[in-house]
């Protein structure tokens, strides 16, 4: 990597060598992802829409406004809060190195994978009526009524959204921030600008695109929020997605569900187009920096406090609920002994041991290792498909802005489309060989890739457009073949973003529940499905096993993310 950059620094003059080559490959770059979308998104969506609107279900347009208003309102608020809390964290991760940094980085990624049933259980273990915090406060205040009401409130929705999505801001903005030339800010300060002025006038404009990109992704996640609103917000709150679910699957009013789906799609397109308008002025190409350059140990008193506060916040927000959950998986709390309210606890590994026993001789029993392998297999395939397709798209968009104009909003559609409707679309479309929901093993990772692909594209695109054309050209002038240029010049620059995208796609797949439950085969469940199976039956053993399985999911994901990051740093050492 060093060599590539050094060579680039030698000759900066502009030559248009290699330009025709790029144009030739342009079409292939976007054709494959587009075909993928056509077959696996537009076809099922169109089929299910046709079915939905051919039905004679009754329509009540009055039922649209409340969920629409709530959906937009909570998404705006959640996104703002996620940015406010995520940007300082991105700053700390990209500008400082400190003990425990990589550990914390891995940890912030974990909430992203958790299925909502598990997150709800985690927050319940921490903040529920008998959560640790309430138990401690009740003891302290000598009262029998839990002072903190968290579950089934609007606050719970907001906190859960930050919990889930802060990683997006940290990774997307952080990887761009680390890429910025620290000399820019330094020169501004040498020229007399205060640190805050140099931040506002130099750094912030340079980070505009990644900030917007992450805000868009976070917004769309919040906008289509389903499980969080359903399970943590409770019945007083309903987003469009929750309404679609109720209309389609409980009231069986498919026509109404179709109208709500179209509304949600229209909003997604609107948001994406608005985003493209705002971010249309091209980012300034900058010479990318080496990894680690520009990071320092927190030196001043102020810096130390900032790092400490940010880490403490992340610890409270992200580690505590996960820890509370893991603690529940090894805690024995029997419901029949002691007075109500005081919890008799002991440490036990029973729940883990029980996972390996098919006590009821069930036909659908799945050993935890099998569920783990299924999850990892799906996540691996998702990562490969979406990283390849997403990167191709990002290249196509950077090289041919005209394509971006009309393809950009289309690519984002799966991200903002109703998962319930898409799931029904899969069932209507893929119900005969060779592609049959329930038996075709690749349908699950394909569905996951639909959501992960735009994610990778958004993450990688800013990095690609930051590569100065001159760098590529000078390498070519010096005799490097296009492949060589890509591998030695471009790859090292986009690698950080690429790995961030790959990790995201991997974890999106690991934690996905809704689509998987529609189309996976019941003999081959993933970890989230296995967790849900335990949680849908009464009994302390079932609850404990669900917590144990969830802890296994957290560990599997933690190890995977850690390994993927390790891959990145080893590469750097190797070149």
């Amino acid at each position: 990597m060093d060599q590539g950059l050094d060579r680039g620094d030698v000759a900066l003059s502009r030559f248009a060598v290699g330009e025709p080559k790029l144009k030739d490959s342009g079409m292939a770059l976007w054709l494959f992802p587009l075909l993928f979308l056509l077959v696996f998104f537009f076809l099922p969506m169109a089929s299910i829409m046709a079915v939905m609107f051919s039905r004679a279900d009754s329509i009540d347009l009055g039922q649209i406004w409340r969920p629409l208003g709530f959906t937009v309102g909570q998404a705006v608020l959640s996104t703002l809060l996620t940015l406010v809390t995520g940007l300082p964290a991105a700053f700390v991760f990209s500008r400082f190195h400190f003990p425990g940094k990589s550990f914390m980085r891995t940890l912030t990624m974990l909430p992203f994978i958790l299925p909502t049933v598990v997150t709800a259980a985690g927050f319940n273990a921490l903040l529920g009526p008998r959560g640790w915090i309430n138990l401690a406060l009740m003891d302290l205040l000598e009262t029998s009524i839990p002072p903190v009401t968290f579950l089934n409130t609007f606050t719970a929705i907001l906190v859960a959204h930050i919990f889930y999505n802060i990683a997006i801001v940290i990774r997307v903005v952080g990887s761009a921030w680390a890429q910025l030339d620290p000399r820019l800010e330094q020169s501004a300060q040498v020229l007399g600008a205060s640190p805050s002025r140099s931040f506002i006038e130099v750094t912030l404009p340079l980070l505009k695109r990644p900030i917007l990109a992450s805000a868009l992704l976070v917004f769309l996640f919040d906008f289509t929020s389903f499980g969080v609103v359903l399970m943590l917000g409770g019945p007083s709150f309903a987003t469009l997605e929750v309404s679609i679910y109720t209309q389609a699957l409980s009231l069986l009013n498919l026509r109404m569900a179709g109208i709500l789906t179209l509304l949600q799609l229209a909003c997604t397109i609107g948001i994406t187009i608005f985003y493209s308008k705002v971010s249309s002025n091209q980012s300034i190409p900058l010479f990318p920096r080496l990894q680690g350059e520009g990071t320092q140990l927190p030196r001043t008193w102020m810096q130390k406090v900032i790092v400490l506060i940010v880490m403490l916040f992340l610890f409270l927000l992200q580690v505590l609920p996960l820890g509370a959950l893991a603690a529940r998986s090894i805690a024995r709390m029997e419901a029949d002994r002691g007075e109500r309210g005081d919890v008799q606890a002991g440490v036990t590994l029973d729940f883990y041991q029980e996972l390996f026993i098919n006590r009821q001789q069930s036909y659908f029993y799945v050993p935890p290792v099998r569920a783990m392998i299924n999850s990892l297999f799906y996540a691996g395939v998702t990562m490969v498909i979406s990283t390849m397709a997403g990167t191709m798209l990002a290249y196509a968009f950077v090289r041919k802005p005209a394509i971006k104009r009309w393809l950009d909003a289309l690519i984002m559609l799966p991200f903002g489309a109703s998962a319930v409707t898409l799931g029904l679309g899969f069932i209507v479309t893929f119900n005969r060989p060779p592609i049959e929901a329930g038996t075709f093993p690749l349908l699950v990772p394909i569905a996951h890739s639909l959501i992960a692909m735009p994610f990778v594209m958004r993450t990688v695109q800013p990095a690609i457009s930051s590569i100065p054309e001159s760098l590529r050209e000078s390498a070519a002038v010096l005799g490097a073949s296009p492949q060589k240029v890509w591998w030695h010049v471009e790859m090292p620059i986009i690698r950080r973003a690429l790995i961030a995208g790959a990790i995201f796609s991997f974890t999106i797949s690991l934690g996905e529940f809704g689509a998987t439950s529609f189309i996976s085969s019941p003999k081959n469940p993933t970890l989230p499905i296995a967790i849900y199976r335990y949680l849908s039956q009464p009994g302390a053993m079932n609850y404990g096993q669900a917590m144990a399985m969830a802890t296994i999911l957290i560990i599997v994901c933690g190890v995977s993310v850690w390994l993927l990051e390790k891959l990145q740093s080893e590469k750097r050492a190797g070149v």
């Binding site: 529920g128 029998s144 359903l230 409770g234 009821q360 209507v428 119900n431 302390a540």
Partner: protein, 352 residues
């Protein structure tokens, strides 16, 4: 190097997962997520008939029924199992079933066979009832409510203890929630049930979206140790608490309220999907599900009761599970006609 290795491994996994399997003829059964069965019961049917069974699970009952309706032109399964009496009329109206009357129906009580039009076969039933935390009622010297009306008394209100005593599920998102709503309609009639819910609301009740939350977050006798000592669950849940206890129990920490009309009886049916190419085998499978082996297996697998009177119950059921003697009953045709309106009206009262 490492990336290449990962690609190789993935490629290998891809290949192995796509490998063709030589197999006997198959029979496909579409069902909901809660379906469970013992391995040897499946094996028994497979060897008796030289067929291999494939199960497709598609979410909850509503999702499963939608799937069957949406794919009725190219049916994905031969048999559909798990439609219950709250969805039955809709399923029959959509004409997804091939009529079949199993000879084994003679072993099934008449009240399970009403309103079926010969389209579906009852397989099992369960009662949705209020479960209570035994210890709470003992330690607070509180009598167990016996009727739905009792729940309106002030001693079961939040003013007496600081928090509501009952948690119920939202009927728009939860099937036990819907079943309990139907029980109140059966008890108070279409004119009176909303009045009951208004009273319940002012006396204090917690509404959550799904059974998991109600049971594991709010209910005080579950592992979640919540605040509410009463929850809408199943009459078999107390048995499950014993069977799935984390250390052996001699007595269930919970019990069900089994008064007149306090429980709603859910009956689950199996039917042959129109367009099947395995009609004879599908009929055999329906007979098999009604026969004693399957019927005796289902209580501990799904925590439901068998409809076949010759099937004996497992000892845990005899000891800890209770079936309601006078469960609430509503005509499935009325349910299918009014359910949307009922849910809407309920939502306006309870979640304005």
């Amino acid at each position: 190097m490492k990336t290449r290795l990962i690609f190789l491994v993935l490629f290998f996994l891809l290949l192995t997962s796509c490998a063709p399997k030589s197999s006997p003829p198959t029979l496909t059964v579409m069902t909901h997520d809660s379906f469970a069965v013992s391995e040897d019961v499946v094996k028994a049917f497979e060897t008796q008939n030289n067929v291999s069974l494939i199960f497709i699970k598609s979410g909850d009952t509503g999702t499963m029924l939608n799937r069957a309706v949406l794919t009725k032109d190219s049916p994905q399964a031969d048999v559909l199992y798990g439609v219950d009496n709250t969805f039955l009329s809709r399923a029959i109206k959509e004409e997804i079933f091939e009529p079949y009357t199993s000879p084994l129906l003679v072993n099934v009580a008449n009240n399970f066979k009403e309103n079926l039009d010969g389209m579906v076969t009852p397989i099992n039933f369960g009662d949705v009832c209020i479960n209570y935390d035994k210890k709470y009622f003992i330690s607070h010297n509180l009598a167990i409510p016996q009727t739905l009306n009792d729940l309106l008394k002030s001693e079961y209100g939040s003013s007496a203890s600081g928090a509501p005593l009952l948690v119920v599920e939202n009927p728009a998102t939860s099937s036990p929630g819907l079943a309990f709503l139907l029980a109140t309609i059966a008890e108070f009639g279409e004119e009176g049930y909303l009045e009951f819910w208004r009273g319940l609301k002012s006396n204090g009740v917690v509404v959550v979206n799904d059974w998991d939350t109600a049971y594991y977050t709010n209910f005080s006798a579950s592992s979640g140790k919540g605040l509410q000592p009463m929850v809408v669950s199943y009459a078999t849940s107390p048995a499950a608490e014993v069977i799935y206890a984390s250390s052996p129990l001699t007595e269930s920490p919970t019990a069900s309220i089994l008064g007149v009309n306090t429980c709603f009886r859910q009956i689950e049916y199996a039917g042959i999907l129109k367009g099947t190419k395995n009609l004879t085998m599908a009929q055999k499978f329906i007979d098999f599900m009604l026969d004693v082996q399957f019927q005796e297996d289902l209580p501990l697998q799904m925590f439901m009761y068998p409809v076949n009177q010759n099937a004996s119950l497992p000892s845990e059921f005899e000891k800890y599970a209770q079936a309601a003697e006078n469960p609430a009953v509503l005509d499935p045709a009325l349910i299918s006609e009014k359910r949307d309106q009922w849910i809407k009206d309920w939502t306006e009262v309870m979640l304005p």
